[in-house]
């Protein structure tokens, strides 16, 4: 039994395969959230249960992205599915995990001095922006994709780097802790919109390259009649259009929240 999805040199089969590491990740994430909530919570904390359903949905998204069939298809056969995994790991699951964890639990997690300092540094908007985009660009380099995705450990490292970078990226927008000095609404919107442009670079390479960029997907056993270049073009469009749709969607929500916040402030002043 494999523990994490990696590229294989066998033809794709629609026969289900178990991946023990993926289940372990699900158990650890759920256990950490709900067990720690039970062990660490005080009477005061129980007033703020967080939004456990959002957290569970976030873990479910991660499970879907990492397990069969999306996991092995993305790790070894189709770049377009690999890009769907990237979107799920970096753009969809992190906001749900952040929003689904109660404030008091975050506070406990960053209680040690070193943890607070690390969280403070990583959640500065410029640092978070750079961190996320360096991870994005590095994990899409041909040498990294071809080199790491071929092994279970490498594939796991890429998936977890997307999740970690996603949490860091989304924190300045959705982070609930005032002590980490969240940005005002206009700053959050600018931060989000600025991030639409960086993924354009790898997306453009994928969409307009004449020949396949990654050996892994070019030399993978074919699925249906999709050519390697067509698969690559679909991947580029997913990265640009779906990623952009999510970012602009959340930027729009922030804009309306900002407008209603301003309206409330004006009403209170009046």
């Amino acid at each position: 039994m494999n523990w994490w999805c990696a590229a294989q040199d066998t033809a794709w089969s629609w026969t289900w395969q178990p991946y023990a590491g993926v289940w372990l990740m699900v158990v650890v994430l759920l256990g950490a959230r709900f067990l720690l909530a039970r062990v660490w919570s005080t009477a005061a904390d129980s007033n703020e249960p967080g939004r456990p359903l959002l957290y569970v949905v976030g873990v479910f998204i991660l499970w879907t992205a990492a397990d069969w069939p999306i996991g092995p298809l993305g790790a070894g056969y189709l770049l377009s599915v690999h890009t769907v995994q990237y979107i799920l790991f970096a753009f969809v699951a992190p906001p749900l995990l952040i929003a689904g964890t109660p404030k008091w639990l975050w506070r406990r997690l960053i209680q040690p001095d070193w943890a607070f300092k690390t969280a403070w540094t990583l959640t500065r908007p410029l640092v978070a922006f750079l961190f996320f985009n360096v991870v994005l660009l590095a994990t899409h380099l041909p040498s990294v994709v071809d080199g790491l995705t071929a092994s279970q450990l490498g594939s796991f490292a890429v998936d977890m780097s997307w999740l970690g970078a996603g949490i860091v990226f989304w924190w300045p927008i959705l982070g609930p802790l005032p002590e980490l000095k969240p940005m005002p609404y206009p700053g959050r919107i600018v931060y989000l919109i600025a991030n639409v442009f960086i993924p354009t670079v790898p997306a453009a390479f994928l969409t307009y390259a004449r020949y396949p960029i990654y050996a892994l997907y070019e030399l993978a056993p074919p699925i249906n009649n999709l050519t390697a270049v067509e698969d690559q073009q679909i991947a580029g469009m997913i990265m640009k259009i779906v990623g952009g749709f999510i970012v602009f969607g959340i930027a729009s929500v922030l804009f309306f929240k900002w407008a209603s916040h301003e309206e409330r402030a004006e009403t209170e002043q009046a």
Binding site: T10, R210, Y211, A215, L219, P221, P222, A228
Partner: protein, 216 residues
Amino acid sequence: MANKRSNTMMKPFGRLSITSMIAVIGAAACIPDAPPRPDELRGTSYPAPLEKPDFSLIRTNGDTFDFRAETDGFVTLLFFGYTHCPDVCPIHMANIAAVLRNLPPDVSRAVKVVMVSTDPDRDTPDRFGPWLAQFDPSFVGLIGPIEEVNAIQSRLQLPPASKYGDDPGSYTVGHSARVIAFTADNRAHVSYPFGTRQNDWAHDLPLLVKAEWETR
């Protein structure tokens, strides 16, 4: 005045030099390139070139195909494989077809792709023809008795094809994953193993087509 005169005198000379230069450039453009050195190609060079084999097999449309005669003067990519192959065969065919679609017509028209079936029991003309045509309708599929196919492979220093598995419907066939490139001199100077990428084909095919090979 002196300037005007010297300008007038220079004009015919200038015209002559430009005309000569154009002629020289034109002549240079018509001269075929020297054969590429082994280190200029991305394929694996043979220490001694292989002679193009002389054989005739049946095409998927039922015609007889005289390999040596019908590929004479072309760069010919010869591959031995089978249509039930899950990986190497469709990947090679798809990559070569994709590159030929992107290369300039003067290069792509000078390349012929021939695939010989190593599984004649299952690769019937009705199956083999459409399978190859999905990559490129110009690809030539050849079918013949496996003993004859193995004899041709042996002449090309390739291992014989061998069946693995007893189930008549789902056995696999072990075969060489190498594409042999014959050039216009009817010899193969280079071959391409599995793992050859589209970029590699796009790099080598123009060199193989445009070089002046000593024809025999």
